[in-house]
């Protein structure tokens, strides 16, 4: 085959696969912009005139503005919390020596191996006992710490050269200044990657919010999507719009930080 021909084949295969991967996303966007009549007439491959009606419906009647807000509040709180606690814990494990250090670190790792299902029963009971059902506390507090984050950041902190630390302490830096002026700036990629993971994990949570929120005012967007029980197509199209609303912020965020994500993944040497 000629080099020109081979090139065409390469681009063609890439484009076909890209189209297949992208099709579902394209489909939901198209569906969300269509009216119910258009859809019942068959899949509107190329909608002639986008109808934003579904979006305003989802936003107001469908309460998706509220769901979005809740998800945002909860996710940002969890991300901030996890990053903060992970930085503190990683600092201790990377730079300080203290009795039982090994054991405590192993316990951190153990939390990675315990799946949510074995803790969820008691946790729901705990939340109920504390009267935290249908509050932001229930959605945020259980997730304020991250074993994965501590592990990743400890790895990154260990890369900070020893002589840098010694020079800083000789120059009179205390732990706090060493952390904020030297460690954090040096390990920004790892922290960003960890934050991104935390963000995604928190945003995508489904089971837990489902169990601790029954009040629509505190529902997060992932649960908001489960209004599929409706029987009329109208409700469906509203949900489609809601889905795009749920998907877009994350997509934009990832687009902006895609480089960090890949770098953080490889730098953290997540080989298990």
């Amino acid at each position: 085959m000629s080099p020109r021909g081979a090139l065409v084949v390469r681009y063609a295969s890439l484009t076909v696969l890209g189209a297949i991967v992208l099709f579902p996303i394209y489909a939901i966007v198209v569906n969300s912009l269509s009216t119910t009549t258009e859809i019942s007439n068959g899949f509107p491959w190329f909608p002639s005139s986008p109808d934003w009606g579904n979006y305003s419906k989802a936003w107001d009647e469908g309460h998706f503005s509220r769901y979005l807000l809740n998800s945002a509040i909860v996710t940002i709180a969890i991300t901030a919390g996890q990053v903060a606690t992970a930085i503190l814990a990683a600092y201790a494990f990377a730079f300080l020596s203290f009795p039982l250090k090994r054991t405590l670190f192993v316990l951190f790792i153990v939390t990675l191996m315990i799946p949510g299902e074995v803790t969820i029963l008691q946790n729901v009971a705990t939340i109920t006992d504390w009267n935290w059902k249908n509050t932001y506390w229930a959605l945020v507090v259980p997730f304020l710490a991250s074993g994965f984050g501590a592990f990743l950041l400890r790895q990154a902190f260990l890369q900070v050269p020893d002589d840098l630390r010694e020079a800083a302490f000789l120059d009179g830096y205390g732990h706090l200044r060493f952390l904020t002026r030297i460690v954090v700036p040096l390990t920004r990629p790892a922290i960003a990657a960890m934050g991104l993971f935390a963000f995604l994990g928190a945003w995508n949570q489904y089971l837990w919010p489902l169990l601790v929120t029954s009040d629509d005012r505190y529902r997060t967007i992932q649960n908001g999507l489960s209004q599929l029980g409706g029987t009329s197509l109208q409700e469906f199209t509203t949900t489609y719009a809601g889905t795009v609303i749920g998907f877009l912020p994350v997509a934009l965020l990832l687009l902006l930080f895609s480089k960090q994500l890949v770098r953080g993944l490889t730098a953290g040497a997540v080989k298990g």
């Binding site: 090139l7 991967v21 996303i25 405590l104 316990l107 299902e117 074993g147 489609y240 895609s258 490889t266």
Partner: protein
């Protein structure tokens, strides 16, 4: 000597203070519940309300391993486990193979390749719920734009084909991450070894199967184990696409059974606890497998 002692003490106290926030959270929301979960099935509770809320009356009697045996030996557990295994087998190898294929194709030095890389990793922005709604909009029983029916039955209600359908949704949703992981693995391969293979006369196909693939085994292995663990914990897609666990429970995976027993069935908490431990054991086995076999698979040169 006073000085070093107090320094070491201060350092230790500081360390404990730094770890404390994480530990408090872990303690309350991970270790304690885990212990409780293991404890509950050993007791028969009467009269008490709910899980761990048996402070309002009720008695507890030790029943040893009876309940454990009941649940783990039950048909329900066996069927659920079987569905979960089927689901894992459907999603994990496919996901890895597709991720690898996309990664290899996107590894070429072509102009505009970054656009394709972005497209291939795009599903990383979708959640399980989002993916489920998307596919529901396409193949859902009433709303589905493409009214896929086999033997006249909508796809998601079909006794045989519902599980594979859900598997497709899950595979698509995790394709972005699979692509990213495989890509990182490919980037890490030593260029010179592949060039040596080129000079040694290996065709592209031979290079891929005899050199690239073996060198990728650590990444593939990691993806396989992590992917399997994730597959075992699948819940959202099942709940959204086949609420209730599908026709004839054909999509009733372990995670769903835990949810169903613990929160939708009265007095099902003990069953849920045992099933949860069953799930945990499977995850544990997979994790240990990875730790054990990881060294065999690394060819540090």
């Amino acid at each position: 000597m006073p000085a070093p002692h107090s320094r070491r003490l201060r350092e230790a106290l500081l360390a404990y203070a730094l770890i404390l926030p994480s530990f408090v959270v872990f303690g309350i929301f991970i270790f304690f519940p885990f212990a409780k979960n293991i404890e509950i099935p050993f007791y028969e509770t009467r009269g008490g309300i709910g899980f761990g809320q048996n402070k309002t009356g009720g008695t507890r009697t030790w029943v040893g391993f009876d309940r454990w045996r009941d649940v783990l030996g039950s048909d329900e557990f066996r069927d659920t486990l079987w569905v979960t295994v089927k689901f894992t087998v459907l999603t994990v190898p496919t996901g890895i193979a597709l991720g690898l294929l996309l990664a290899v194709l996107a590894h070429q030095r072509l102009r505009g390749i970054t656009i394709y890389r972005t497209i291939f990793s795009s599903t990383v922005a979708t959640s399980a719920a989002v993916a489920s709604v998307i596919f529901f909009s396409l193949i859902g029983p009433q709303s589905g734009v493409f009214k896929l029916r086999i033997d006249g039955i909508p796809l998601l209600e079909h006794p045989t084909w519902a599980l594979p359908a859900v598997a497709v949704v899950t595979t698509w949703q995790s394709l972005g991450l699979a692509f990213i992981v495989m890509s990182s693995g490919l980037q890490a391969l030593p260029d010179e070894v592949l060039e040596a293979a080129e000079i040694d006369g290996a065709s592209a196909r031979r290079r891929f199967f005899r050199v690239t693939l073996p060198l990728m085994s650590p990444t593939l292995f990691f993806a396989f184990v992590v992917g399997s663990i994730a597959a075992f914990k699948t819940f959202a897609e099942i709940d959204l696409l086949t609420p209730g666990g599908g026709t004839g429970n054909n999509t009733r995976v372990l995670a769903y059974a835990v949810y169903d027993a613990g929160f939708r069935t009265p007095n099902g908490e003990v069953r849920a606890a045992v099933l949860a431990v069953g799930l945990f054991t499977c995850v544990l086995i997979l994790t240990l497998l990875q730790l054990r076999l990881e060294r065999r698979v690394h060819y540090v040169a």
